[in-house]
Every structure is written in C-alpha cells, then in structure tokens.
C-alpha cells in the first residue's frame, strides 16, 4: 500500500464531510460568515490535497498509477465480501481535481451570490455534502460504494434544486429530478446484482479482472443497466427531462452540480467501466448512439428557448452527449478531456449568467435583456470567452476537446456519429451566439434599470474560469499530448492519442467552416436584422413550437406514465380501498361482534383466562406432536 496515497486520499474524501457536519451542528451557534468560511476552506483543503496527491501519482511509473487501497471489510456474509476501499488512478484524479477545484471556485462564488439568502448555512452544508458524495462516487473501489456516492449526489441535488422550498415549481422540479435519478439508481443496482450473480463480487479489481467469466451477453446486459444509471444521472435521452427543470435551483448549484460535476458522473461511470464496455460492443454502441442523439436533440431545443439558464441546461445535455459519444466509441481520453474543458467553460457560462441574473434582480428571460455589454463589461467578456469555447472556436479549449471527439469518431469508422456531431456543433455555435447576442448586443429591452453590483467574491472565480476556459485546451497541442499521457495509467490497453498532429485537418477545417457559418447566421439574425429573425420564426412555424416545448416529451411522459399511474391509483382507491382496506375491517368488525361474548370476553385481563390460554396452547401442541409427529418422530 502506497503510504502517501493511503494517508492523503481519505483526508480528501472526508474534508468536505467534516465541513458539512461542522456547519450543520456547530454553524447555527456561530456568525453566518463562519459557515461560508468552513464550507470554502474544507473544499479548498480537499483541492490542495488532491493536487499534492496528483503530483505524487503522476510521478509514479505509468504501470503503478492505479492504486487500490483496502481499509478493511465492511460486510462478509456468506460468499459476498464487500470492503472499504479507495481506488486512485488518473481517471479518478481528473474528476477529483475538477470536483474540488471547480467546486472550490463555485463555493467562493456562492459567498457573494447567496450573500442575502436567509438559509445561507443550509446552502453551504448541502454543497459540502454534495462534494463529499461526489468524491465518494469517483474514489470508490467498487460498485457498491460508488452507488452510495451516486445516491448521495442525487440527494444533494434534490436538496439544492428544492433550495427555494417556498416555491412550488422548485419543489416539483426537485421531486422530478429525484425520481428520474432513482430510476438510474435501480439500473445500477441491477447491474451490481448481475455482477454478483456471475462473479460474486462488486469490486472493480475483481469484476474487471474477470470480465472473461461473464460472457458477451451478460456483459452487454451489465453495460446496458449501467447505461440506464448513467443516462439518468447525466440527463441523456430518454431520462433528460429533469435537467431543464433543475434550473429552479440557485445558479451556483446549476454551475456545480448540473453542469460541471454531477451530470458528468455518467461519463465517469462508462469510462471507469471500460473493461466491460470494451468487451460489450452492443452496450458500447448504445452509449455512443444515446450520446449522439442527445447531443443533437438538446442542441435543436437550445435554439428556441428564452430562459438563459434553460438554454445553458440544454447545452449541458448536448455537450454531455458528446462525451457519451466519445466513451461509447472507445475514445475514453477524448471524453475525459471534453469533461475537463466543459467543466471550465460551462461553470464559467453559468456563473457569468449568474452575475447577469443577480444584477437584473432575478430576470432570466433573454427577451428582457440586451445591450448589457456596456452595463456589465465583466460579464460580457467572460461570457464571450465561454461562448467561444463551447462553440469550438480555436484557440479556446472547447475546440480542442470537441474536435478530438469528432476526429476520433471519423477515424474509428463512425461516419454517422461524426455527421451528427458536426450538425450538433453547428447548432451549438448558433444557439450559443444567439444567447450571447440576445443578452449583450443591441438595446436593453428590460423595464427595470439593472442595478450593477460588483462583488469580488463572484468575479474572481469567474475570471479564473475564463482563463482556464481559454487556455485549457493547450493540454493537447501538436506534438505535446499532455492529457493523454496523464491518463495513460487509467487506460493501459485502451489509450487513443489526441494529438493534433493526428487530426484529419480537412475534416477539422470543414467543421470550423460550418461553425463559422452558424455564428455568422446568429449574428445576422440577432444583431443585424430582426426582420430576418421574424421571417425565420414564421417559416419554422409548428417546428418552432415543437422545439419550444422540447418535443413535448414532458407531455408524452405525462400521458404514458402519470395518467395511467393516477388512473391505477384511482381504481385502487375505488375498488381496493373500498373493498379491501375498508371492507376487510368492516367484515372483521362484523365477525367480532358476531362472535360477541367469546371474542370480547376472552381478553378479560382475568388471570384464570390467561392460565386457560396457556393450558389450551400446551394441550394443542402436545396433541399436535403426539398424533401429528408420532410416525416421523419415532423413525
């Protein structure tokens, strides 16, 4: 056991939990600012320790970078052994760095953003709980503790979406998210049951080493059930409907949980399970197809939405679709790389949007914005950096990661996935610039003059993320593929270089042209000519309404699931409730009064009656043994 890792790793995991408990139990007796300090400090401590740990692990030889720490046995019942363990490898480290690093920045941002909220302490306690659960998810050395973290982030997400619990819509959104996520939890549970059924274990080490013992069909089923979990957590088709509604939560929550970290847990799961997906082609293909479909699906919806956070939510779904596409075709490093850059630019976009929303007194409708570039130059510049990054404009980070994915889709022989990816990239560029121009260009269309308040606690993290979103892509440069080298330890047999030198440049340039065209279109429609925009809207007609309602998925699910469920409940209420729940006691009551004296008289409390009961019981038992068991007993 590596002593350095064994000492540091648990501290990383438990620092945020300690923070959460301190805020929850000690916080109420201290000034509210102390809670914020505890919240930020604990996450920062975890981040600093993670950096140290990462430096240590990445100095080890590649073959030694996968460290499985065993701390003891949690349960040993029959054949099933479940340990406590931490699994550190470059993949886990990548996620840990983002969870704690970006997590810390967002905690810092929250100090300003949530400054006026009455439930300030609760907020930080929940955020720390989230960071702890998320770390548990990525540091676990087996599927069971992964599932515990998986459920924990679901809980934290539920609590934080419903943070404004006096708002009906927030409570409903939280409930929706929880239900969708639990569907995914059940998927993972079934996958774990299958693992136990085949190899009798749930630890990564055993399951991955014995993938040969499963058979392709079983591996495919495990892959599919894991995908169900991944799809629910990562808001991919068809379990995506909770994510747009989750924007009811405070903006820092959207940035941390519903953009940078939790929703990418599905990507982590698939990448972590690459030994399974490598040998389960059907399941892997399903991952890629779900990803590509979600990328395109969400991008189309993003083109017509008016709520700034909802557009960003759909863009998150779309970008995670890219990551699914990447890990589905086996390009794990490309998927992880896009996760990294996406965490930077999407957190940036949410937090810059949060500044806008904060200054506009909670306004989120882009039709009531416009012309904010002069009024909020800081938000303008940082949001621009994020927009360029997500649209894939070089040299911003999104270009490198997204084009790595597209390039590998083409190189690995998936022309259809490539085509869908390019189409989604074009739509992304269009809707993001539509959002950008609507917010910052032209004239201010709101009724209330914005009250611009510059809060350093909010601007510093945004500025840092803007820098990262701009330069983050340089981890992959021609001839210097740093990122793949870093991840080599996690995918010893499945590494695909990302180096730009291997890029298929004609394809990349073609994609760039399409993206440029999309940006120009957005400029034409939202800056130059409102007339053009009106024409296009009219032409689209019904399609626009379809997109505006997100393909009516909510309504369809309502008809498919809620209506029958309510009908069943109604039916139960009428038949079951009246006939059984009410009927049986009535029948019993009738029987009781019919038996009258005997029944009521029996429980008299008189001693003789008790003695009689015992005597009758003993007699019956004896009768039973002597006449019933005589033959069997005598044998």
């Amino acid at each position: 056991m590596d002593a350095v890792v064994a000492n540091i790793a648990p501290q990383i995991l438990f620092a945020p939990l300690l923070g959460c408990l301190l805020i929850a139990f000690v916080g109420p007796r201290l000034p509210r600012s102390v809670s914020a300090v505890i919240g930020c400090t604990s996450v920062f401590a975890a981040f600093a320790l993670t950096v140290g740990l990462a430096a240590h692990v990445w100095h080890l030889p590649v073959a030694a970078q996968r460290i499985d720490l065993q701390f003891g046995t949690w349960a040993l019942v029959g054949q099933a052994h479940i340990g406590f363990g931490i699994w550190i490898d470059p993949l886990a480290l990548t996620w840990m760095l983002v969870i704690t690093g970006v997590g810390f920045l967002i905690h810092l941002y929250s100090v300003g953003y949530m400054g006026h909220d009455a439930n300030y302490r609760t907020f930080f306690a929940h955020m720390n709980l989230f960071v702890f659960s998320m770390l548990l998810l990525v540091m676990s050395d087996g599927f069971l503790w992964l599932l515990v973290g998986w459920g924990g982030v679901g809980l934290a997400s539920y609590l934080l979406i419903g943070f404004y619990y006096d708002r009906q819509s927030a409570v409903l959104a939280a409930r929706k998210a929880l239900i969708m996520n639990v569907i995914g939890d059940v998927g993972i549970m079934i996958a774990i049951f299958l693992m136990f059924a085949h190899v009798g274990d749930q630890s990564f080490a055993v399951v991955f080493a014995r993938t040969g013992a499963f058979g392709t069909s079983a591996l495919d089923w495990i892959g599919i059930w894991l995908l169900v979990g991944a799809v629910a957590k990562s808001a991919q088709l068809p379990l995506h409907t909770w994510l747009p509604d989750a924007m009811e939560g405070p903006t820092p929550v959207s940035a941390l949980i519903h953009a940078a970290t939790m929703v990418t847990a599905g990507v982590y799961l698939v990448a972590r399970c690459h030994p399974i997906y490598d040998r389960a082609p059907a399941a892997a293909e399903a991952v890629a197809i779900v990803g590509a479909a979600s990328a395109l699906f969400a991008a189309t919806i993003g083109c017509v939405q008016y709520d700034i956070k909802r557009v960003l939510a759909y863009s998150t779904m779309s970008q995670i679709g890219y990551m699914f596409l990447a890990v589905g075709i086996g390009a794990y490093t490309a998927g992880a790389f896009h996760f990294l850059t996406h965490a930077f630019f999407k957190a940036l976009l949410f937090m810059a949007a949060g500044i806008v929303i904060h200054n506009l007194g909670g306004e989120q409708d882009i039709r009531k914005m416009g012309g904010l570039s002069k009024r909020m130059p800081f938000a303008f510049w940082t949001f621009l950096a994020g927009t360029l990054a997500i649209a894939g404009v070089p040299p911003f980070s999104g270009f490198f990661s997204k084009d790595s994915i597209l390039d590998q889709a083409a190189a690995l022989g998936h022309p259809w996935l490539f085509a869908v990816g390019v189409a989604a990239a074009a739509l992304t560029a269009f809707y993001m610039f539509r959002l950008f121009f609507s917010t910052f260009a032209g004239e201010y269309r709101g009724s209330v003059e914005p009250h611009v308040e510059r809060v350093p606690a909010m601007e510093i993290p945004v500025a840092i993320l803007a820098v990262l979103a701009t330069i983050g892509g340089f981890l992959v440069l021609p001839g210097h593929d740093t990122f793949s080298a870093l991840l080599a330890g996690a995918f010893p047999d499945a590494i695909l270089p990302l180096s730009l030198a291997d890029f298929d440049w004609p394809l990349v340039l073609g994609t760039l042209m399409i993206v440029a065209a999309a940006i120009v279109t957005a400029y034409a429609m939202y800056v130059i000519s409102p007339q053009l925009r009106a024409d296009v809207s009219r032409r689209l007609g019904g399609l626009r309404l379809l997109l505006l309602d997100a393909y009516h998925v909510d309504a369809i699910y309502h008809l498919m699931f809620e209506v029958p469920a309510y009908a069943l409940a109604q039916a139960c209420g009428v038949f079951f409730e009246r006939a059984v729940i009410a009927g049986v006691p009535q029948a019993l009551a009738a029987a009781t009064s019919a038996l009258g004296g005997l029944s009521r008289g029996w429980e008299t409390g008189y001693l003789r009656r008790y003695g009689l009961t015992i005597a009758i019981g003993a007699s019956l038992l004896l009768y039973f043994v002597i006449f019933g068991l005589h033959d069997v007993g005598a044998r």
Binding site: A618, L621, L629
Partner: protein, 476 residues
C-alpha cells in the same frame, strides 16, 4: 465409609458471576451499615459491579472452559449472552437512577434484586444440564416477580407482579415436568447425554421436549404463552420492563439455542412445535400491536413478534444460526433499551408519558428526542442503515435455506414486518405531526437516561452501518 466427592470448582470460570453476586451482597451490606447510603450510591455500586463482571467476561475471551463437572460452560456463546445481559443490567440500573423509579420500594432491595436477576440470566447462558438451567431460570424469575411489583404506588404494578408470579409458576411447572420426562427418556440431566436419546426419540422424549418448549416459550413470550406479556410489561416499572424485554429474553434464548444445538445438532421433526409457535408469535405480536395506544404495551406486543423472529435463527440448526441469533439479540437489545430509555427520559424515570398521544408533535419541541426515537422505531421496523435491518436480512437468509418450515417462517416474517411498519410508523408519524395548540412536550430531560439513549442510537447505527464489526466477533 462413604466419601462425598466435592466437585472441582474453577473460580476463574465463574468469576463474572462471583463479581455480580458480591456486588448484590455489597449493596445490601452498605445499606445495612450506612445510614447515609444514598440511592445514587447504591446504584453506582451496582453499575460498578456490572463493569467488573463485564471485564471478567472479556478476560475469558478465547479461553472456553467448563466447571462443576461440566454442568457450567463458558464459551463464545455464553460470553455473547453475558455481554447482552450485562449491558441490559447497566441500562436498567441507569434508568432506575432517575427519580422515583422504584416508587418507594427500598433502593437497596431493588438494585440488589436486579443484580441477582442478572446472575440468574448468566447462569442460564452457561448452563449445560437441565438442573442448572432450571436453577438459572428460577433465580432470574423469582427476583423478577418481586421487581415487577416494586411500583408500590401503582396498583397496575401489583397486578403485574401477581399475574407474573402465578402464571410464571404454571410455566415453571411445565418446564420441570418436561425436564423430568426428558430425564426419564434419557437417564441423565446433562444435555450431551440427552443428545443420545434424541437420536431415536421415544414418545416420552418428544412429550418432554414439547413441555420444555412450553415453559421456555412462556419466558420468551412466544404465542400462545404470551398472554401475560402486555399486562406485565405495562404494569412493571419502566426500568424493569426494559430489563425483562432484553435480558430475560436473551438469557432464555441462550438456553433454547444451547438445548437445540447440543441435543439435536441438526434439523429434526421434533422441532416443529417450536416453528409453529414462532409463526404464531409473529402474527399475534404484529397484529396485536396495531390497536395499542400505550407505548409500553406496544413494545410488549413488539417483543412477542421479535421473539418469533429470533426463533428463525435456529431454523435449520446450522452453524451460522448462532451468530445470527447473537447479532439479532444484540440489535434487539440496543433498539429496545433505547426505546425504553426514551420513555424513561421524557417521563423522568416513570411511565407517566407512555401514551402515543403524548408524543404528538414531539419533533417540533424536542427534535433530538424525536430523532432518537425515530431511529429506534426504524430499527424495530427493519429500515436499512439500522441494526434491525441487517438482523432481519441475516434471519431471512438463515430461514430460507432451511426447508419448508424455514420458508414458511420467512414468509410470515416478511408479512409481519409489513404489518409492523404501520405499528412503528404510527409512533414516528405522531412525533412529526403538527403540534396542537396549547399542548406542551413532556419535560423530562435528565442526563442519565440520555446516556442510555445515546448508547442505544450509537449501537443501532453502528450495527446497521458496520455490521461486520459485530458479526465477525461471533462468527470467526
């Protein structure tokens, strides 16, 4: 000239018992010689003796031994039960420390009787022949009959004591008659000798065993021999009820388990009466609890059902059954002692606040009390992350592997658990329902019962989250 050979007595083996007996005598002596001996002092002596005895038990770990010519055996099995009994004794003494626990009975008599009661339980845990078993049971019972009546101010307590002693004598009659028949069938009182007769059981043997089961079933409150339970649990002082529910049950189960494992060693048809009364108990206990409005009565019915659950551990008579039984009884000890400690806490050591109605809205006034009680109720119902859940999982695993009777018991356990959700959640629901205007939460808030409550919560959660810690102690 006849020589009387005195048996060799190894005092190391009986040291935990000697410590407890000495404690009981010391309490009586101190009370006799010192006028200034306060209740607090006498009870503290009891708790100290409890700790000494516990340490002596721990010192025996790893060194199984027998003494009194093999009639008294200490082994992994007896240590586990000794630990449960001593924990129950300590908890019971702690709960008695609060005001007016003994309602005017002499504190010295009360606390020394409690200690002697535990001595009886520990004799039972180590007994390997019918006479020592009977001795242990009577030692335990006689002290308990008196203790049940120590609520001198309440007629219910007197009634409980009278009912308990009369019905208990009846049950002892069954037990001693059954033992006599077993002796007649096998020619010996030692369990190992009786095992020879069990290989080809005669009618005499089977009848004797069934009567033995009746006697034991009475102590365990297995239906239909449970009739005394609600009245006695409700009438006895709260600390005594807690002790009855935990220590008496654990001690009697140790007798039953040792008997079944030593005498039969494997599943036999003659055990059918035991399975039958377990099924009946799960039904009677859970259904009977539905209508209860008094927490002590509710817990009495609950203990009837739980006793039925524990019998599942014996299903199949396999090696893992003993560890399962010990695990469940330890879990049962924590959650029951905890629940009784909450009642004692809010009632300042009495049963004045035992109506479920008085817990209405508890959460809004006394969130910690409500939270702890919720933990105990969850555990009794068998919700995950509590000891009760793991215990039930183990019991189900044991029963399902044990043939038709086992499967029948497992099915009844699951159905009974469903019913019991209503019972336990009724309490939780009351605590979390809105506070009625003008209603005030019970004020009791003494430190001592808090210790018992906190220990209960810790035990329930720890066993629910880290079951291996407890399970491996007995299994390895």
């Amino acid at each position: 000239m006849t020589q009387i050979a005195a048996p060799q007595i190894d005092f190391g083996v009986i040291a935990p018992l000697v410590a407890l007996v000495a404690t009981g005598l010391l309490i009586l002596l101190v009370d006799l010689v010192s006028r200034r001996a306060t209740r607090r002092m006498l009870y503290s002596i009891g708790i100290a003796g409890c700790i000494v005895s516990f340490v002596r038990v721990v010192m025996q770990f790893g060194h199984p031994a027998t003494t009194f010519g093999g009639a008294f055996a200490t082994d992994r099995f007896s240590w586990a039960f000794d630990a449960i009994i001593l924990v129950a004794l300590a908890a019971s003494l702690l709960l008695s420390l609060v005001r007016d626990a003994e309602d005017g009975a002499s504190p010295a008599a009360y606390s020394s009787l409690l200690v002697f009661c535990a001595v009886g339980g520990m004799i039972m845990a180590a007994a390997t022949n019918l006479i020592v078993i009977f001795l242990g049971i009577e030692q335990l019972s006689l002290a308990l009959y008196i203790l049940a009546g120590t609520g001198l101010g309440r007629p219910a307590s007197q009634e409980a004591a009278l009912k308990y002693v009369l019905l208990g004598s009846l049950a002892s009659g069954f037990l001693i008659y059954g033992s006599a028949l077993l002796y007649g069938a096998s020619g010996s009182v030692a369990l190992t000798d009786i095992a020879h007769a069990a290989a080809s059981p005669s009618m005499l043997f089977i009848t004797g065993f069934t009567l033995f089961i009746v006697g034991v079933g009475f102590k365990l409150a297995l239906a239909p021999f449970h009739v005394w339970t609600p009245d006695v649990y409700e009438g006895s002082p709260i600390a005594i009820t807690a002790f009855m529910a935990v220590a008496v049950k654990a001690a009697t189960f140790s007798v039953l388990a040792r008997f079944v494992y030593v005498v039969f060693g494997h599943d036999v048809p003659a055990l059918a009466p035991l399975w039958a009364i377990a099924i009946l108990s799960m039904i009677v206990g859970n259904v009977g609890a539905i209508a209860q409005t008094n927490l002590k009565r509710l817990l009495a019915y609950s203990s009837i059902a739980q006793a039925g659950y524990v019998v599942l551990a014996l299903a199949g008579v396999t090696g893992s059954g003993l560890s399962t039984m010990v695990f469940y009884l330890a879990a049962y000890a924590f959650m029951n002692l905890g629940a009784f400690a909450v009642i004692a806490l809010v009632g300042d050591g009495s049963e004045s606040v035992a109506d479920i109605d008085s817990y209405r809205g508890m959460f809004w006034r006394r969130p910690w009390v409500a939270a702890c009680m919720t933990v105990f109720m969850f555990s009794l119902a068998g919700i995950p992350a509590t000891a009760g859940f793991i215990g039930k999982v183990l019991l189900l695993g044991q029963a399902i592997a044990a043939g038709p009777w086992g499967i029948a018991m497992a099915v009844v356990l699951v159905l009974g658990t469903l019913v019991s959700f209503y019972v336990y959640f009724k309490v939780v629901w009351a605590m979390f329902s809105p506070l009625e205007d003008g209603a005030s939460a019970p004020a009791g808030n003494a430190l001592v019962p808090w210790i018992a409550v906190a220990a209960g919560v810790a035990g329930v959660i720890l066993m629910g989250v880290l079951p291996q810690l407890f399970y491996s102690f007995f299994a390895t």
